[in-house]
Amino acid sequence: MISFRTCRGFSRFNQFRGPLSFSFDSPLLLELHQIQPPEAVFLLQSNYFGTSEVTVKDEKFAPTQRAMACGQSACKSNCYKEEEDGNNQEENGRISGCTTTNTDSDHTVICSKCKEKEAVVPHNNHLYHDQLCLECFRSSLFGKFKLAVTSHSMISPHDKVLIGFSGGPASRVALQFVHEMQLKAHMNFEASRDRSLPVFGVGVAFVNESAVSSVPSHQVHQVNEAIKDMESIVSSLAPPMKEMYTIPLEGIFSEIPQEGKNLLHELLNTISDATGKEDFLQHLRMLSLQKFASDNGFSKLILGSCASRIACHVISATVKGQGYSLPADVQYVDARWKIPVVLPLRDCLAHELNLLCQLGSLRNLKLFDRPLSGINGQVSSFVALLQEENPSRERTIVRTAEKLTPFSFNKIPETDHANNHPSLPRRLKAQNLKSNESIAVDVFCAVCVGPLSASEMQKAKSGDQFAANCCQSCLFQILPKEPSALQNFYSLLPESMSRRVKGANGVGRHWLREKIADCLLSDDEAET
């Protein structure tokens, strides 16, 4: 008689009595089902949440083989079988993870890390190998954040970082963690005798998109309430003091709010493809943040993009034919912008961040949470489906994208870095940038700022028209097809976007070029 903890889904079979032949996903059960009935007749008795007992009427079953029951050690790695073999997918398709529910109801589960506090984070779908208490869960996430920050030189003491804050869980956690880092730096500063290392500054930016969201006019005050809420969240995270800024999206078009709104609406109306419109808005958001950060002396832009978000981006970029530029978007550091963008939560899953907000009562609110449409909508439900089927799928997708070769700008430019804190060890070498890759100067799409592939670059050289400087994907989904509509589109573009093309010799990506030239120089230096 073998006793073991029940596998979720196992209890489904408690109605069966007598000879069974079905497929399972734990090693023991796999072995069991390989023995054909009627040789192996086993009874399954199970009270719904209780310990299941299996009686195997088969002499061939040596005790050593039974040891592989879906218990602690075995189950962690094995219980959820990769679905690649389609053999028994009809059974294991939805069965994931183990429930560790015990028959004695007063039994509390102890955190497997500190072995002291009560675990609150379930051994969930094998995302965590252990059951953790809130503190340990929190520190595991903070650890990922900290590692990303330090190993990619995301924040240095002389920096003034701007956090892109949407109010949602991911950027809420980013804000929280950056605050904690700043607080620690602040305390070290206070404690140190010579006060040589300054404390980095933090600003929080919220892009107000109410101009393009479908918020009815009578709900405008709700938006304002929400913004006040966010301000109170930010002001509660002091000392050190952090300023919160609300940036209206239409601001990149005009200083005058109404004029900006009109231009923004008119421009969006020239884009007929729903996906294209959505992506274009995303580019405008980045443009707003970049402009604000640059105008106000910030040196880094921190975004809360998490692994789940990046997994979706990997698939949707592939679907949109952006395979070449994809690796530029999924790295920890993206310095193709005037103000380098860093993603310290890149290794955390959306699910984890949500859970931390819930359990750690981090107040968050999502203001402009529109459901995604078109291709982006399809992709996000596809990834959700895959994730449900296998909880490690999002990470696998991100890991695939990691294996693609990044661009030379996917690291903090050495010059900034060296000037700011010479004491920091140079860890940039750790990134596997192909040395010959960095010699080629990247040319960027005028709309999405994705690096152009060789064939697209050929086109960009030939003409000085805006369209010739766009990637194939933007040409298809964003730029209007009709010449008159296209002309209209150009005339409406915010200056910061149209200037990417105008200017000397038709290709005016001046500051971008300069930016890259910086990287190149330092690259060569590093090589010799």
């Binding site: 679905e83 690649e84 053999n87 997918q89 034919g321 596809f382 799928r393 194939q472």
Partner: protein, 369 residues
Amino acid sequence: MPSGEEAKKSDSRQCCICSLRRAVLKRPKTQQQICRECFFSAFENEIHQVIVENQLFRPGERVAIGASGGKDSTVLAYVLSELNRRHNYGLDLYLLSVDEGITGYRDDSLETVKRNEVQYGLPLKIVSYKSLYGWTMDEIVKAIGLKNNCTFCGVFRRQALDRGAALLKTDKLVTGHNADDMAETVLLNILRGDIARLSRCTLITTGEDGPIPRCKPFKYTYEKEIVIYPPHLKNYFYTYAYFKKLDYFSTECIYSPNAYRGFAREFIKDLERIRPRAIIDIIRSGENFRISTSTKMPEQGTCELCGYISSQKWCKACVLLDGLNRGLPRQGIGRTRGPNSAKKDGLKIQPEMETESVVRSKPCGTLDF
């Protein structure tokens, strides 16, 4: 579809290519409204262009067409023989079919292939599992049970065409993989993190270092267009449903259709509905991925027993066959080991599930055939 287009339809039912005939269909790939004749010539010319631009063939080559009897390979056989005649490729074309030996399973498709032999005047070679491996699939299932037979269908199917092509002494093997299949494979390789396969899966010709390179002339051809193309075939007696039926069997394993692959396939169909170009875009992404050349497949050697390319001492087919012949049918499957690891006959359970390294991790409903 925008409502504006609806209004336009009534007055512009003219073919947008020739402006002569009435448009009868909206081309799935481009959404152009075109007439029958223009569709057929566009369809054939595109494939001709792909063949020319990628220099798939050289004059005088012997080329085997992997013929399953499904729509893809049937249309491929027809189009290739047409183009060969029309553009003087100078190729010797052969039809090559595999009979797995599953009662009733290949009856229809082998009938189709035999008809194609007559219609297109192409010599046909049918290689059977029995002749290649000494076992029919039915016999294998009998020996091993339904649970593990997928390992066999995957491995045996992959090798059967190559072995058949070697028997025919052909220089190349062409298969009917279409753009939809390509896009699906790109996605699957992303989902399972297989960067080595991701870097090769969009190549139009593979195995150029091996004895018989494989080409995919339908790489950019939409499945939907392959389905509507056949009315052009002389003595047309196929129906859409008939093709559907054959096609189902030709790409999907009869015993165990793969749920995981199903998701990707469904996803691509959904994408095509809202953006037909998505299929081509996925292939383009696959071609343009920046993958450093150091990411290579494991060093390939040849199997000591049969000479087939293999990264190990024995190729997978030989490992499986050895087990079958010695009455240890589970050898080489899952957690049991074959001769490639010294442990023989072990029904020992490994502490870690070997999902990556062993044969079973590959979906059997593979597109390799």
